[in-house]
Symmetry: C2
Subunit: 358 residues, 2 copies
């Protein structure tokens, strides 16, 4: 029996409410499929910790987490107390970079039983993957201010794209497209407006595409691409995007399939040199925290992605992933459901319902 070591970090806000539900489902699935999981919880990487210690994490966070097989992560952010760029750059964005989780994988799928905000779309119509570059690009703290505090004040903000960073995410996305029945890839760009980095991105897309002659690919400017998520979501298979564009498209895609309360994500270091991180796409939602009404499905789905990655999409881990996905789908049809899905159930009740059928 293969044993996996999981670091569980709830973070802030509803992260603290949905993580326990995710863990309960993981433990149920592990029991059923005889997978050994040892879970260690950490209360840092949170704004509470920051308010006490002046930093988001202890100095030895890297060494502490490095030995785990995966990080199961809730959400970070309490913008009233700690500015978002401080809390995020001090935790989640550090993990993504220092553990080189350069692939952010976000499935967009219309599930049965979920009311779709788009007219006339059925489950099965929308089923694609957003593959987001997760370490460089527009997410940068490089830059600065000049003439601070005067009328002439100005700010420079640097985006940084490397051949290494761009090519590896493109290879990952093209290979994924190649492994899927439709073999289609759409690359988000904005080379008509962002005149240095995006033409480079386009060039690399064309260069990497040469290695995947059986993948049918296209480039689309991110503005019209966002519009098409709403107008023609059935046309997409794999969508690859820079850090910022992937961020926007992977909130928009799930919105088109119902609610971002369901959207799961995997921050992968495909080479497994470092632990990968699995988290819901939604944030800490301080406005609904404390009421036990948050939808735990995105957290639970992220747990399924974690098992699948740990087991290389094979054997008991794959079976556990499938069982969790089936349990989610069946509870979406039968209830109980949380308020975002039109129900009255609490976070705990929805979590328990999934535990019961997993």
């Amino acid at each position: 029996m293969r044993a996996y070591r999981i670091a569980a970090i709830a973070g802030d806000g509803i992260g603290q409410e949905v993580l326990p539900e995710g863990l309960r489902v993981l433990e149920a699935a592990a029991r059923r499929f005889a997978i050994e999981l040892t879970v260690t919880r950490f209360d840092w990487a949170s704004c509470d910790y920051y308010l006490q210690h002046g930093q988001m994490m202890p100095d030895d966070w890297f060494d502490t987490l490095q030995g785990f097989d995966a990080i199961y992560f809730g959400a970070v952010g309490m913008p009233e107390q700690v500015p978002d760029h401080v809390s995020l750059w001090g935790s989640l964005l550090k993990f993504r970079r220092q553990f080189d989780q350069y692939v952010n994988l976000r499935p967009v799928r219309l599930l049965p039983g979920v009311p779709c905000p788009l007219a006339n779309r059925q489950p099965g119509d929308i089923d694609f993957l957003v593959v987001r570059e997760n370490t460089e690009g527009e997410y940068s703290a490089v830059g600065g201010r000049m003439f601070e505090g005067t009328e002439r004040e100005l700010v420079l903000q640097q985006s940084i794209f490397t051949r290494h960073g761009v090519d590896r995410i493109l290879h990952h996305a093209f290979a994924l497209a190649q492994s899927r029945p439709r073999k289609k890839l759409t690359a988000a760009t904005k080379s008509n407006g962002i005149a240095v980095s995006m033409p480079y991105w386009d060039e690399r897309v064309a260069a990497v595409a040469q290695h995947y002659p059986d993948v049918q690919w296209e480039r689309q400017h991110v503005d019209i691409l966002a519009a098409r998520f709403v107008l023609q979501p059935d046309r997409f298979d794999v969508v690859v995007a820079s850090n910022l564009f992937g961020d926007i498209l992977s909130d928009l895609g799930p919105a088109c399939t119902g609610t971002i309360g369901l959207a799961a994500s995997a921050n992968l270091n495909p080479e497994r040199r470092f632990p990968s991180l699995f988290e819901p796409v939604h944030g800490s939602a301080p406005d609904i925290f404390g009421k036990n009404i948050a939808n735990p499905i995105a957290m639970i789905w992220s747990g399924a992605l974690m098992l699948d990655f740990l087991g290389h999409s094979q054997g008991p881990c794959r079976a556990a992933h499938d069982a969790i996905m089936q349990a989610i789908e069946s509870v979406l049809l039968s209830g109980p459901l949380t308020a975002d899905l039109g129900g009255k159930a609490s976070t705990t009740e929805l979590g328990q319902a999934i535990v019961d059928v997993v």
Copy 2:
């Protein structure tokens, strides 16, 4: 009788098909409301011109256009022949900057008779304005490459935000919100990821808001904001955004109300030191060019915005604007319609139908 001088530039692709329809409607409205318009057409600012002359426009373009009251613009781009960043930076983006058209105003409105891709939304439910900063920010040709052609290749791309540029667009947006019944403003940000420019943007939003105590404002990260365009489009009134975020949101908004074939825009120099520019949000759409099937409504609606701006939203110009909008709405209900709206009419037929009732 006040006379207005209009420079008409069709540009590329369907720009050449929709501009004539826009002009016919403008001329009909001008006749009815006794407005004197003199229209001068230019065939430059097009890729055809570029292929002949190696530049998008003649050297004296600025002096030539400077004397006009407004520019009525089709679309630019033939990416198979000329890279988009070359054609756009050589024309449209030059106009926006050199004529200091710092406000890009884009109405998002669900019109009667237009099939809405969102479920259960009626005309009247969606009616907001995207106010986009139009001269600086992420749209920049500043940056460069290092280690070109090697494995270590990297690209730096600069975004530039100035106090001058940020404050004036925010003032414009807050004043607009103040003038509307709901008095609500949403500022798009991404300060949790883009760690230099976006925290600065947030700071200026808070500072400028002080001058508009009766406007109810909020900041939203652009990822969740895009999601909410789909999930809760009724909650928005005025949305203000940087150049890039405004670009994305102003394609997404119109998609949520049916088709970007309808979306109009105004590139304004509010001080009227330079001509303002009015254009459809859609591009040159080379894939459908030559078939006379493009929807001319975005072009026609942009013409209505032009008259409204020229007349300071008063008198005969305002009346002409209202008459064009009514004509658009009545033809949307009665037909004939182009293929994007489910009909079979040609560009010319739809244009003529609007001319007939204006």
